[in-house]
């Protein structure tokens, strides 16, 4: 074909080539038809599923948390329906701008805004960060209207945790909060990323997390590619978490917490027939309501700076020398060792042992002292003398039997168990032999001896009943059968009578007598020295050098129903403790009478605990400004508080070199007590 083609040949070529083009076009058409048939028929199932998963979005509805109830079924922690706003950090385009707009809409302070920015930065990118809850409808609507310019902001109806008595239950119940990165990594379920979902961060809220949580509901919605919800398809309701019913008597808990007033201390009341813990108050405290939306920097700073450690649960993590409150227990050890309660010891203000003299708190002396007088007058010499005879190996086992040094099977995150010293313990710990002054110290609850308030309450209950009462926190209709302690009934009566005389007889706490006819309360005062006489007289001067005031009690004295303890940190002596015990017990038997006493006091103090906390906060916030360090997240905070509590336990690093010299007239503070 090298010669030039003719016109005819050219047309032939054109016809061939158009035919070729037409055939090529037709085959591409067939290819397209085949391809479409393959996608639409053979792969239809797959693509239909993908279209559905595009279209339908499953959102979880956070389950309503189970309530925490007191023994009467009244809520200590409940849920409040509210309007709330959350932010999902990874969907936010302009963090600063979003916080500014939200801040204006919600009227957030500068501090709140900074806190919010911190949380947005530290939270997992994909999980919801709470901005505000408990909003009224107008505010909520105002945020909703601005949504198109606020990507990542999620306003919704939901529930927030509500603690009606606030700080009164802070340490006991704990609080809830949005899951942290660590918690999500430990339990990577979608629920933890759901806006509005909170889990227990501390206390019983954390301990009973699985029971309280419930099952999330789900909502299937049709969404656009940009995530806008077009319509609801269907909804499965959530299953509310199970309630947890405690042995706590809510009104009593609140009363005790409020009655502690300006002091730093704890109150435990138990039912000694069942072991039910009726009240476990530790003050000052924090408001778990405000912790649930995240802990603000001002609030944290205020609580962290307070030397009365509002973040520590003092009932379980406060360790104190029990002071003279151990004397009934030591007396029981004497009785069990065969000492006749009628046997007398002469107290001339001190006891000569070898070439040493150990002083009684009463420098003038108590004269002839038998066991009853030894307890109600808290005569040190009586106990020094007989302790030398029976020895520490009779006293330490009795202390342990009564609950000192014991860890109780309670659903709490941690409890410190303190120290019951004996010769073997001292040798092991310090490598030094037991000295007679160590026994002297131990018989008056000083030296190495340390216990937490719950242990002291249990000790009181066990001595009062002669039964091995075990405390319990979860309500149970069944009545436990406690083992007997093995005390003879006569011995129990001796102790009951002697402890009744502390209050109702010629004892050290006459002003603790209950203003209730026919109900006699028995008790024992205790004053625990924190520093030696050379530093402080224990009653005035710097707060942290003042003596702890303690009071263990039970009532009625001859048929014990309730037993408990009041510990006032640095209260200046037992005189700070037993008025609290008296009012708390009064409230149990006659609530109105108890409340009248409290209201009079609260007028002096400037409101209830919750009101004072709010006022403190406002004052502190006004002074502090934004330039505060960032608060730790709840897990770190819990560890920090625990570590500080351990460090604060006054266990001596070196052996106690000598006998503690008891305060002269430790109960004198009763007459000039701060409360009255």
């Amino acid at each position: 074909m090298d010669k030039p083609p003719s016109s005819h040949a050219l047309n032939q070529s054109f016809q061939r080539r158009t035919f070729f083009i037409g055939a090529a076009q037709a085959s591409i058409g067939l290819l397209l038809a085949g391809r479409m048939g393959y996608i639409a028929v053979a792969e239809n199932e797959k693509y239909r599923m993908e279209a559905e998963s595009n279209r339908v979005n499953l959102t979880l509805i956070p389950p309503r948390r189970g309530w925490i109830l007191d023994r009467h079924g009244a809520p200590l922690a409940s849920n409040r329906a509210d309007f709330r706003v959350d932010i999902i950090p990874e969907r936010v385009e302009d963090v600063q701008g979003t916080v500014r707009v939200l801040g204006d809409l919600l009227a957030l302070s500068a501090v709140d805004r900074q806190d919010l920015l911190d949380r947005l930065e530290s939270a997992p990118r994909f999980s919801a960060v709470p901005v505000a809850s408990g909003l009224d409808y107008e505010t909520f609507a105002a945020v909703t209207v601005r949504l198109p310019e606020l990507p990542g902001v999620i306003p919704q109806r939901g529930y927030s945790r509500y603690y009606p008595t606030g700080p009164s239950v802070g340490h006991l119940i704990g609080y809830v909060g949005a899951p942290s990165r660590e918690e999500y990594e430990a339990e990577p379920t979608p629920l933890l990323l759901t806006p509005g979902f909170k889990l227990g961060k501390d206390g019983l809220e954390k301990q009973f997390e699985q029971e309280l949580r419930g099952r999330p509901g789900a909502r299937r919605v049709e969404v656009t590619a940009s995530g806008r919800i077009v319509r609801d398809l269907d909804t499965r309701d959530d299953v509310q978490g199970k309630p947890v019913r405690l042995t706590i008597d809510g009104p009593l808990q609140d009363y005790a917490a409020r009655r502690l007033g300006l002091e730093s201390g704890s109150v435990v009341v138990m039912d000694c027939r069942t072991g039910d813990i009726l009240c476990m108050a530790s003050m000052p405290s924090f408001d778990p309501n405000s912790f649930s939306d995240g802990i603000g920097r001002v609030e944290y700073q205020m609580l962290a700076e307070n030397e009365r450690v509002p973040l520590r649960n003092k009932v379980l993590k406060g360790l104190y020398p029990p002071g003279s409150t151990v004397k009934p227990m030591v007396g029981m050890a004497f009785l069990e060792a065969g000492i006749d309660p009628k046997e007398t010891v002469f107290c001339g203000g001190g006891l000569q042992v070898g070439n040493r003299r150990f002083g009684c708190w009463n420098r003038r002396g108590h004269g002839q002292v038998d066991m009853a007088k030894g307890i109600y007058q808290s005569c040190d010499v009586y106990f020094y003398h007989l302790a030398q005879r029976v020895g520490m190996d009779a006293i330490a086992p009795m202390a342990r039997k009564c609950g000192m040094g014991e860890t109780f099977p309670l659903p709490v995150l941690s409890q410190f168990f303190g120290t019951v010293p004996d010769p073997a313990w001292k040798m092991q710990k310090y490598g030094q032999p037991w000295q007679s002054f160590d026994t002297v110290n131990a018989t008056i609850g000083q030296g190495y001896m340390l216990s937490n308030p719950l242990q002291l309450a249990v000790m009181s209950a066990r001595l009062a009943t002669g039964k091995r009462v075990m405390p319990r926190l979860v309500y149970d209709e069944t009545r436990p059968r406690f083992d007997l302690m093995g005390f003879s009934d006569d011995h129990v009566h001796v102790i009951q009578e002697a402890m009744s005389d502390v209050v109702n007889g010629p004892g050290t706490a006459g002003r603790a007598r209950l203003p209730i006819p026919d109900v006699l309360m028995a008790g024992k005062t205790g004053t625990a020295q924190v520093v030696g006489l050379n530093i402080s007289n224990g009653r005035t001067g710097p707060w942290k050098y003042r003596d702890h005031g303690l009071f263990t009690f039970f009532a009625p004295y001859d048929n014990p129903i309730y037993a408990g303890v009041v510990v006032i940190e640095h209260g200046g002596g037992s005189g700070s403790a037993y008025p609290v015990a008296r009012d708390v017990m009064t409230f149990l038997f006659d609530p109105q009478k108890g409340l009248d006493a409290l209201h009079a006091l609260e007028r002096q103090w400037g409101g209830t605990a919750q009101e004072r906390l709010a006022a403190d906060y406002a004052r502190y916030a006004a002074a502090a400004g934004v330039d505060l360090p960032r608060p730790p997240d709840p897990i770190t905070l819990a560890r920090q508080v625990e570590a500080e509590a351990r460090a604060a336990a006054p266990e001596p690093a070196t052996p106690v070199p000598d006998a503690i010299i008891p305060r002269e007239d430790p109960v004198a503070s009763a007459t000039e007590g701060t409360e009255e």
């Binding site: 030039p4 050219l10 054109f14 058409g29 479409m36 639409a40 693509y47 279209a51 279209r55």
Partner: protein, 372 residues
Amino acid sequence: MRRSIPLPAPLAALPWIMLLPLFALVLFGAAVLHSAAGGSMSPYALSHILRFLVFLVGALVLMMLPRRLVLDNAYLAYGGVLALLVAVEVVGAVGGGSQRWLELGVVRLQPSELMKPVIVLVLASFFHTLPIGMLRSWRALLPPLVLMSLPMGLVLLQPDLGTALAIGFGGVVVVFLAGVPLRWFIGGGLLAAVAAPLAYFFVLQDYQRRRVTTFLDPESDPLGSGYHIIQSKIAIGSGGIDGKGFGQGSQSHLNYLPEPHTDFVFATMAEEWGLIGGLFVLLVFGIILRWGLLVARAAPDRFSRLLAAGMTATIFFYVAVNLMMVMGLAPVVGIPLPFMSHGGSSMMTNMICIGTLMMVDRWTRQGGGRAS
């Protein structure tokens, strides 16, 4: 058909065998656009029909043009459109950014669109006047290459790869049908095979390169460029045989499908009308293209033949590339589907092609056996 239904003469002269399916396709397109607008005639469906009617009138005017006039003014038209392309570059450079169109008062003109039929016109004219003896010499090849590369270069500068390829395709088909030796095409094909990798690395823009890589593996970037192809396949695949029903397409209505009214209109259609709708669209395009080729083969002279075949190829290029793209057989190049996608430029171009084909058809019937 023309014989069985009595019609007034000018109407009876129209190629109803092509026009009736075309009307059906445009109306079907309007229905799909109605759905894509969320069940509303505005903003797409109504203007789609109005534009079609306007350009149909234009096509009828075009159809009436005499052969001589067209043949004589081919180079003038080419020069004019080329000048407009240069003007686009100048305006773009002055305005400080690349653009593809010229603002002419109320109308926004995209000269690169006009170039698609015009390149066919000018090459048909060139080969018509080229002496047959020169068909095997370089003179048959070099001028067409220059004629093609000038506008392609200008369009690539915009940058608009899809349109440049469309211009090139139309031109190459005309050159092929003009009867130049096959070996040149085979050689050219080999050259392209070598040039393609080079072009990939040195000519293509970043976004175009990404389109090629995601086309080869769409799952590699499911939220980026691959998103388009994946969502389009989901729309087509989930439609099944008979579709989800008119107005029921979730992919388009919930915005998962990108550009549901322009480039991906076929996916929008397929989701709601299924394979049946898809085969209908393919069938109509098949009818139109077959008619176009028949017009070309029946045409009396070389110019008319090449012109008609080139116009058919231009329409085919749109259809094939768009459909391959939405079905995941070609990269996303931004070429709309003729007569269905919303958009004035492609409607204009395709109606110019249709009008030109009707014109050639008229010449054939009028002139009878008047050969070149």
